[in-house]
Symmetry: C2
Subunit: 418 residues, 2 copies
Amino acid sequence: MVTSTSVTDIAKNARRAANALARVSEDRKNRALREMAEELVKQKGFITAENGKDLDNARKSGLARAMIDRLTLTENAIDAIARGLAEVAALPDPIGTVTSMWRRPNGLLVGRMRIPLGVVGIIYESRPNVTVDAASLCLKSGNAVILRGGSEAIRSNIALGQILSGVLRNAAIPEEAIQVIPTTDRSAVHEMLQLDEYIDVIIPRGGEELIRAVVEESKIPVIKHYKGVCHIFVDASADIAMAEKICLNAKIQRPGVCNAMETLLVHRDIADRLLPGLGGKFQDAGVSLRGCTLAKNILPDIEEATEEDWYREYLDLILSVKIVGSLDEAIAHIEKYGSLHTESIITSDYANSQRFLNEVNSSTVLVNASTRFSDGFELGLGAEIGISTTKLHAFGPMGLEELTTTKFIIYGNGQVRT
Amino acid sequence: MVTSTSVTDIAKNARRAANALARVSEDRKNRALREMAEELVKQKGFITAENGKDLDNARKSGLARAMIDRLTLTENAIDAIARGLAEVAALPDPIGTVTSMWRRPNGLLVGRMRIPLGVVGIIYESRPNVTVDAASLCLKSGNAVILRGGSEAIRSNIALGQILSGVLRNAAIPEEAIQVIPTTDRSAVHEMLQLDEYIDVIIPRGGEELIRAVVEESKIPVIKHYKGVCHIFVDASADIAMAEKICLNAKIQRPGVCNAMETLLVHRDIADRLLPGLGGKFQDAGVSLRGCTLAKNILPDIEEATEEDWYREYLDLILSVKIVGSLDEAIAHIEKYGSLHTESIITSDYANSQRFLNEVNSSTVLVNASTRFSDGFELGLGAEIGISTTKLHAFGPMGLEELTTTKFIIYGNGQVRT
């Protein structure tokens, strides 16, 4: 347990480390990341021993099986974490990139250069791999990071943090660039969220309840998404086979994640051809359907959807199905019930594809592809630190660039303002 | 006076208008902006009459002369506001621009398209021209705006707002895209700042006190800067004539603005050659200097600077002067006392120019040019809605692009995730 003072000290040290880290070259950061990968593998014994203590406590306190699985660091899991570090080392470093540059009439050459945000606070739940994952992305993008994981993973997180900051120390990079808050005390989070002088952004990763609690308390800007109520709209002109394949993938491939489909909207002119077959396949895959009155006319066995259902993120093998009369009705439904996360249209109509892409202002909008592609790796960002459904700073999956901002750099030769 | 409920209604209506406005074409927005310009000129009589009522009240309540000047809408001032509207109409519309696009190995074509933030809240002090200025930039960038001006300008602001939304109504654009809060009641601001469900961002424009009060109360992200403690560092290798010209411009040309120089840092190897001449010119221009001990050795008549002075934004003909031993000491001073606003180095040394540009992470960093160029118009953004010294979303002068975010748009042909 640390005292209340020391969370502030952690943040002050992070700010100081961030100022120094902003000037560390790409080569040195990459070398440190690769050394971290080696060190994690070397210290597997220590990590699994510390993780074992967390697991013992978890079993004693009767943590659910699924939670214990997420908490467990096997030797294979540690190898995978180390590979992740090497992959981050191989990504391009955004810092120092000049994203654009232009000449003013008075001769000034004006550019925008990427710089780190500064200090990033990550608040997350059980999985200890997030500790290394988030730390590596912050280091690569020149940000100091303060990590606050779940209490059930405290010993694992402290062990991982020690290894990472040990590597920084050996590399003559300020070790406070990566700090794990070494306490499970709830008041530490509260204190952390007041430190807007030292921490630039908070990224909470976890369930909606955790995120709402963070937003409620924080004086620091929070980049977040509460939930993903993702829609697929099957337009009248859709290719039936493609629609079936995409809808099944979006619901079933991994139902517990935020980019899985939660509501299927079907144009009434294709419903009779699509729903009997697709409904059967969903039921074969164990998906419970909840439909509007029109959908129940076609699939009489399914439950009736309530008004509540259209807002729900099931994160489970449950799907709401609604028949709509037009693209406009589909867009209006998404606008009313959606969460600004991810929406897809299945269509062979050019005009409708363009209208959907232009008019739906969710963070990711797709044509003829599964909502499951709304992911930093899948979109080619190379990494993912989180997904934002608020529009300030970042909207959608966030990679390394979203951990930066830009400053204006200006080359003059004596210009003054008149 | 409106009741508390109606501020929430204003915000709900703004959200609805924003959804519609996001789909209005550039042509229609530009036509509306040009019609607003014409309408303001046509309705000069009405505007000056309403402004006259504000001026009467201001005089009765003994408002300071400078404030009354800022409040006054002459016929010429209205012409200038109308010209500003025409200029905004002529700017490129950022909405719908695809800023980048790339192909994934599975064939997905992924792009980022600019979309409006949604609903922008502007909280500002006396000058009623801000009402039109901010409304026009928000309209151009597809954002609905809620305007809360100073109580002393309430009738002027309501009059201007009526004219602007009248034009929207005639153009079949939802008139709630531009709304002036029609009350001077302080509780209306408090209520507005809680409405994070309907308002996406708050931009306060005014003194530090106003901005701190907004930040303290707001549940909505605030884009802001508190103050500009801007530095110029005259390096040992600087051209003396250029250094003099730039320093005088940065301090004197308009001392009351946030990008004026407040602290001059001088390398000790050039101090003896620079300060006697420059000090005399500053004194001739009525600038009071406050120096460190070393500066006082060269300019014995000047006041001694206190520790407090290095943090101060004078906004006046006062300047702190410090002699430093190296570029590192200059950068360390800026890091400790600066406000992340704007800093300039005057140098003829290549390596030092690069180090200053790379290592100083203020929002605008210049070489051999006046700090006064830190301004949306001067940097070529075409417009300025504000300046941010916090790093999230925008950093530095903000133009139309900073009133947008990007969504991911994805063109597929049946891709599913495996």
